[in-house]
Amino acid sequence: MTSSRTSLALWLPSFELRLELVRTPELDATSVALLTPGEMGGRQVVDQISERAGASGVRRGMPVSQAVALCPGLTLLEPDPAHYAAAQEAVVDALAGLTPVVEPVEPGLVHLGVDGLERLYGSPSSQAHRALRVLLEVLPPPLVAAVRVGRAPGTFGARVAAAAARPGSPVLVPSEPTGALARFLAPRPVEILPLEAGGLDLLHRLGVRTLGAVAALPLPALMRHFGAVGAELRALARGERIDPVRPLHRPRPIRVSLDFPSPVGDREALHRGLDRLLDRLLVHPERKDRALAGLRAGGYLEGGGSWEIEATLREPRALRDALAFPLRTRIELRPPPRALETLFVEAVAFGAPVTQTSLFDRGEPGARSREGRTEDGAAPLPAGIRDAVRELRLRIGAAPLYRVVEVDPWSRIPERRYALLPLEG
């Protein structure tokens, strides 16, 4: 099964905070706020809050000073991303035993593709309870008891159903008859739409509070305010856009780590450690010549907790310095809050094998050329491409193969930015 029209959404609000409360149960009776990861130059703000903290007036996005002023007994927790990622991973792995179509969306929200599972697991209600039983294998009972379950056609409908559900009482929206989804969506608040705060403000100013009101707006009016997104919002609100659940095809990450003899807080030592780990990553047999497109670096902090950063490369690379640069930049922006006992680097996204990307290689060993650019059209081509060009010329008299070259990429006139250049054998 490659995708599923019907989704069973499992949603555990404040997933990360709940994990912390399970780890330190004595915090459960206090006011707790989990902070966002700290960025250099940016303030840490409140991310998730316990019920008691909420009752004191603490809100998400609030600066720490304001939150503490409102709730003097507030316990502030630094995020532990490695712990949360491990829990989410365990949830996804366990649910993959139920259906092959599992789509993790964010920490605490997973869509299961349930098309055709009636024969295996029975009615939609039985399927929901089965999924919760599976969660009990990897999560403590208090967490599973707080999970909200929604089932509907499409991921948006299921997400709305899960938001409308109460723990222990799944909301199941039938696929039939036509219009059932639209009727279910109509009274739901617009806050559930995938919109930035500015977009929601605009809807509020227009007096639009429910999905039914969005569905009733004329398309040109919505597009005038929101552009192409307006059409998507309307289709979602009317239950016309059904996004299927798609399984996550994640390559297995490659992880290398380094235990420091004594905790390291010095930036230079951290960079040297990073270089050593990238060297090991590049010669790792599991890399199988693939270039790396996404990296995660992190570590375990002295005194407990973890720290993590991620970097996505503009194009897949296989050179240490090219990989180290974005990671170092991220470290400058978000340095570890304390000294590290262990440093790790994971390759989480991959490009084509270097043997493939080097088709357009222009002398940079082991990696593709900068932007695939050449100084002139006569730069030597790899043998495989050269042979293909010659053969095409012999067979059809011409080789309709081109490369895209930058002419004046910053020109204000679109037709002057790029051109096609014939490949010569």
Binding site: G230, E415, L420
Partner: protein, 84 residues
């Protein structure tokens, strides 16, 4: 060695456009007839190369009914409409 001649990409193509009283696009003629413009995302002017062959274009990034985005411009020198 033969000389290689680059082929420009994104060359403008002529298109019929209906405009409103302000000269802004209201509908575009496609293969299957006229398609209304649902909204204009952005518009800007380019006036360039006055020293050589003057170029003056008024660009409109529009969304057609149905949601398709399209980049149009009105050639202010010769009066025609193009898309890219």
């Amino acid at each position: 060695m033969s000389r290689l001649r680059p082929i420009p990409l994104d060359l403008p193509r002529k298109v019929s456009v209906r405009v409103d009283g302000d000269g802004r696009p209201r509908a575009v003629r496609g293969r299957r007839g006229w398609v209304g413009v649902a909204g204009i995302r952005e518009d800007w002017r380019i006036d360039d190369e006055w020293w050589r062959i003057p170029l003056s274009r008024h660009y409109f990034e529009v969304i057609l009914e149905g949601g398709r985005p399209l980049l149009l411009y009105h050639d202010r020198m010769e009066g025609g409409w193009y898309f890219q």
